[in-house]
Symmetry: C2
Subunit: 426 residues, 2 copies
Amino acid sequence: MNLLQFRSLAEKIFADVRELTFDGVGVTRASYGEGEAAAADYLRQLALSEGLEVYADRAANLIFRRPTSEPDAPVIWVGSHMDSVPQGGNYDGLAGVTAGLLCLIARQREGRTDALPLEVVGFRGEESAWFGKAYVGSSALFGKLSDADLALPQRVSGAPLSEYMEKAGADMDAVRAQEVLVNKDRIKAYLEVHIEQGPVMVARSLPLAVVSGIRGNFRHNHVVCVGDAQHSGVVPRWLRHDSMFAVADLIMRLDEHWRVLLERGTDLVVTAGVVNTDPAEHSISRIPGRVNFSIEARSKSTDTLEAFYQLMRAECTAISRERGVRFEFDRRVLSDPATMDEDVCKVLSGACAAQGIPFEVIPSGAGHDASLFANAGIPSGMLFVRNQNGSHNPREAMEIEDFMLGVQVLSDSLDELPQTKALVAG
Amino acid sequence: MNLLQFRSLAEKIFADVRELTFDGVGVTRASYGEGEAAAADYLRQLALSEGLEVYADRAANLIFRRPTSEPDAPVIWVGSHMDSVPQGGNYDGLAGVTAGLLCLIARQREGRTDALPLEVVGFRGEESAWFGKAYVGSSALFGKLSDADLALPQRVSGAPLSEYMEKAGADMDAVRAQEVLVNKDRIKAYLEVHIEQGPVMVARSLPLAVVSGIRGNFRHNHVVCVGDAQHSGVVPRWLRHDSMFAVADLIMRLDEHWRVLLERGTDLVVTAGVVNTDPAEHSISRIPGRVNFSIEARSKSTDTLEAFYQLMRAECTAISRERGVRFEFDRRVLSDPATMDEDVCKVLSGACAAQGIPFEVIPSGAGHDASLFANAGIPSGMLFVRNQNGSHNPREAMEIEDFMLGVQVLSDSLDELPQTKALVAG
């Protein structure tokens, strides 16, 4: 099947959804909010106009499929998410849903019968920017949201996640009971196309890449370091309890551990994305009495994450003792690392090679809904499309030519997967 | 003269001015703003009701004196400031002006002739919290405000200092021309009573202390560290330009230099009072691209301040190179250290000793208007009154008994100073 003919439809989808969700700077599609709903409605209308079926699952994610007399037959799922960060880029999430939809529309128009039919899923709530937790929609699907998760406050309104999910139509009794809301055995494979969010593919001139695995992470969204606010000129060094010096000390100790771990070949990145002296009391001539900060580490290895977490807490204890401060931690939020299925990766790589497209197999530093499927035992694979300027910003810049290569490889892989013995056996 | 009889008047002044400038949490007397004006008006009315003269000098500070036929005769000045930080304490500044006024009222009621008459000054604009520069009122008096100082924006409105000073009645042509607005030769000595802003006197059970000298400082109110904002999961360590790690690195390098300098006996304190990742773009899962911060160092030694400043800039250069970030500095604001006059200190110490009051001679970590007088060559001295819980917060707690001891020692010193040969000769 030649998917390259769908280029103008792809361009139209990107332009229309961008216009619907443009915020003056970038696009804003709040998880379980307005922009996400606008994107979902647009995609639903488009699918219906092509003669496809669209329904919401019990977690309020959208499922797109061809009309069928065997709704419970085995399928392949292709998906990604419909939300974005505030003032984000147009392709993060939307590119993957669009890639799946184009494959589905091509099959519908052709009226072809597939060995394993395709279903496309548009997830809600993938971006952690809104509730401090990532992959909400796919987590709900697999019964992975705890009461604490459901109580997380929205970044602007402060209202809990559960309220937003309910408004979007999720079956909250089932979500709260942590039911698995999908028949996992039906889904023979999960594929996801996504823009690369890092700089590797641009640097190496690769239009596509096959993802080997997805980093997990631990996070504390809100840590407070409490010291003693005093006039900056009058308290000698040994009587100071400077919370900012304490946080700087913590960051530099973690930086040093990180450097040593990298030298041993460990996979790890560490970020303190939000750091603030308390605006209610800070001043140029005052020793900071409170610093609020976030801390995050990511690794392909669960062991590395756990070890680094314990190291971090041990350093906090040492700094508390040495500097007379204390650290107050909120709940730790964990996302498990995930490994992509070897056979699925082979199919994706084979499809790239058959098209003569330069590609490599690389790990994903960012998290994706695909990790939930992989960790649920469903053979999963991801395809990255080259993208300039990173993601989570309005300057992200995927070339439509690269995207269409991704759609072609996705379609070819969908054709190839039912021939893969391991999958059919599973 | 027995000043202890003025205790109820002192209590009334503190209670009345507190009520006039209470903000719901502490007192707010904005420099050249509403609360400062309310305090000034109250003190003016009080002085007039006691038969004193009150006039504003050309920098809009208030001068209180007894009616005199020799307005240009030599005098002793006693002063402090009328403004406060936002949500500050009632005694920081006001205690010193009140102490001077009580001495002046006592002399007026008694009708006594002094060898060197007393004039009391209530300064405006001492707190750097409002315009990012301290001692504005006394600096204006000595022709020390530059065009850059006068352009400093008010923390809330953003309007320049010059506009505020003009509204308060200052002669802005003279201020801009950096004229010295006072006849320095007339002022034979300058005395200032102030609450201690640190913890030393409480710890040592000293109701009073004589100040040996005042720390100077350098400040940058607004430094920006610019890195590269990217998704936290996808950029490996060697490609990161993390502005928060860079600022933490700077703080820890300064901490280490500070520690080493203290071991060599150097006088120094270092503070980064305000540190913020950029709220317009920061996120838990984003490498911080911009950190805004302030940096301040204080020392009794000009050489130490200059050496530490150069060290700080050198470390910024090294960090910029190592971490691929850049530091953007606003104008450096300097306050010179000052040494109190030895003879004046002897007089203050003698007066404490004669009253049997436990006292010590200690340095001032905080800056005071007195440093402008000392550095203008006017013999100057300061008396600290014990104070709980530091200053620049609503919990500051001076005992009225301690304050009255300070007023008594101030009055006794005013009687003694004209007998001091060095002063009369000067």
